[in-house]
Symmetry: C2
Subunit: 332 residues, 2 copies
């Protein structure tokens, strides 16, 4: 495993011919598709407790259990370590740490797998809320027939925060429903507004959608200020990361009717504890971090990793390479 | 009111110059926008109980209370009667009777008002079911965090029955979501399958959507046969009329898991009685005939009627003219 140390010291040779790289897999249950790598990888499974001791002997690390923050805690500050880390998730906030960011280790993510599923999930929430479906289900339980007027979705306005592939997929699908959309990213560019426009766009939006990566710049960016700027009729959706939101501020905004409602698929603490006040806040839909996970998603994640592994093992350039300073794969 | 009798005898003169036609309005609460007709119509409001005695004196009838079947019951077999009947609904099943069909009276409907709202409503149901939203809301009430895989909507197949403007709007919106759609009408034509293809299309569909007018040909067309042909994973939606569906057969199909679920917005008896078994059938979403009724709909219906009235009073051709034999406004 001498490559490991040499790579971190700046040399970039591919794995030695004839050698088989050691692939460490942090998982709770084995990923699909890894059988494809038989003979081309020495696969070592690990749990969080044994990660630190196994990292120095690994050439590559697959973070399959993307709910774990063990990598951030176990990453070695110096010495041998994996040359490549792949996470089976779009977000990389759970693994980036200063030592990993400073190292020569390449980090890749599952960019592309979750875009369409999450866009559909957001569209489902927007339509269900406009059509008052949660109340319909509630009145059905009570056998109450109460005709109500619902809202058109076409012609409403959405502000989507996060200009990566997920945010852009959300914009495309909402546009297909006739929604007027504005996309906000870190830096203004063609088709993307910058942070300076956020207040103005949020104040006009019927739907404010959080789909940004969790970074220092986005940590709790949805707080009292944003909820205060939103219209009282507007609805907030978070499909990014829990810590994009100041949950206490959201609870106050809902309780005081600053905004009409919200849907959170992600939370600062997951699973959401049974005693969390978020479970029964007025107008809040709580879902268990499922927006991107459609039938077959694990298989797609496995297939994507195998493709990346084949590139890596052949010394070809990787795709989905994370900018470790920014905390995401830089966009187009 | 001599025009009334003469019109039914075949003569077609417009209202006499200087005369003001009598507009009878069957309503529970007054329609908006009729103030626009001040001086151009003598407006007489009526309830169902007084409809029969007032019909002979009316030149035109606006059926604003489209839940009422009073017209069918009160329509005179002979003698003076309105030359024009407009209903503030897409369906005309509640007013057509043999005497009205045989008469020279023109019937118009609210074609166009409900297309987009109902299409959005169907899209909301399809997305909410694919994303398992009803179960999410249920588990939220129980403070249960249970991650599940949900389904992609793009790539699924829908069979939409009813090739009028509502069915076509549903097809357009589902297509925008990436759904493969088949539209079924009474007569096959470009872009529309005929009844002979129904079984084949239904058997392959993930979503079967009823959006047909209620006629002799469509009465209870969704019964044991169709539910038996559907896939066990498929979902049925009715946004047409309650009597398109054999509700007992649907109840059996759901109880026996012939199909995965259904959503009914319309029922044979409305409001659905509190003791109906439909309220808590497994997998059935019950909503109170609201799919087309978005904020501002009454105003739009009023505006549409005023426009039609102006055409009629000026002797110009009406639009949205119902084929009284077929029971709907013929095709596009």
């Amino acid at each position: 495993m001498s490559e490991v140390g040499s790579r971190s010291a700046g040399r970039r040779e591919p794995p030695r011919t004839g050698s088989v790289p050691t692939l460490l897999v942090l998982d709770a249950e084995p990923p699909p598709r890894l059988g494809r790598l038989t003979g081309r990888a020495r696969i070592v499974h690990t749990d969080a407790a044994h990660l630190a001791e196994r990292l120095p002997g690994a050439d590559a690390l697959l973070v399959w259990d993307f709910t774990s923050t063990a990598v951030r805690e176990a990453w070695p500050g110096a010495g041998p370590r994996p040359r490549w880390v792949h996470t089976a998730s779009a977000g990389v906030d759970h693994l980036l740490c200063p030592e990993l960011a400073a190292s020569g280790t390449v980090v890749t993510n599952a960019r592309g797998i979750f875009d369409q599923p999450i866009a559909e999930y957001v569209a489902a929430l927007v339509l269900a809320v406009a059509k008052d479906l949660p109340r319909t289900l509630e009145q059905q339980r009570e056998r109450v027939w109460r005709h109500r007027e619902s809202r058109r979705v076409a012609g409403t306005r959405a502000c989507v925060v996060g200009s990566g592939p997920i945010g852009r997929a959300i914009v495309r699908l909402l546009k297909a429903l006739g929604v007027t959309t504005a996309l906000v990213g870190r830096v203004p560019r063609t088709g993307v507004y910058g942070p300076a426009d956020l207040d103005r766009l949020v104040s006009r939006a019927d739907w404010v959608i959080a789909a940004a990566p969790l970074t220092e710049a986005t940590y709790r960016m949805f707080g009292a200020h944003v909820f205060g700027v939103m219209q009282p009729s507007a609805f907030f959706v978070n499909v990014g990361r829990g810590d994009l939101v100041d949950e206490d501020a959201l609870a106050r905004a809902l309780t005081r009717r600053w905004i009409a409602g919200a849907a959170l698929d992600v939370f600062a603490a997951e699973p959401l504890p049974p005693d969390s006040p978020l479970w029964d806040l007025p107008g809040l839909v709580v879902s268990p971090h499922m927006s991107g996970d459609t039938v077959g998603w694990r298989d797609e994640l496995g297939r994507q990793f195998v493709e990346l592994y084949e590139r890596w093992a052949a010394g070809r350039p990787l795709v989905n390479v994370v900018d470790k300073k920014r905390g995401y794969v830089p966009g187009h």
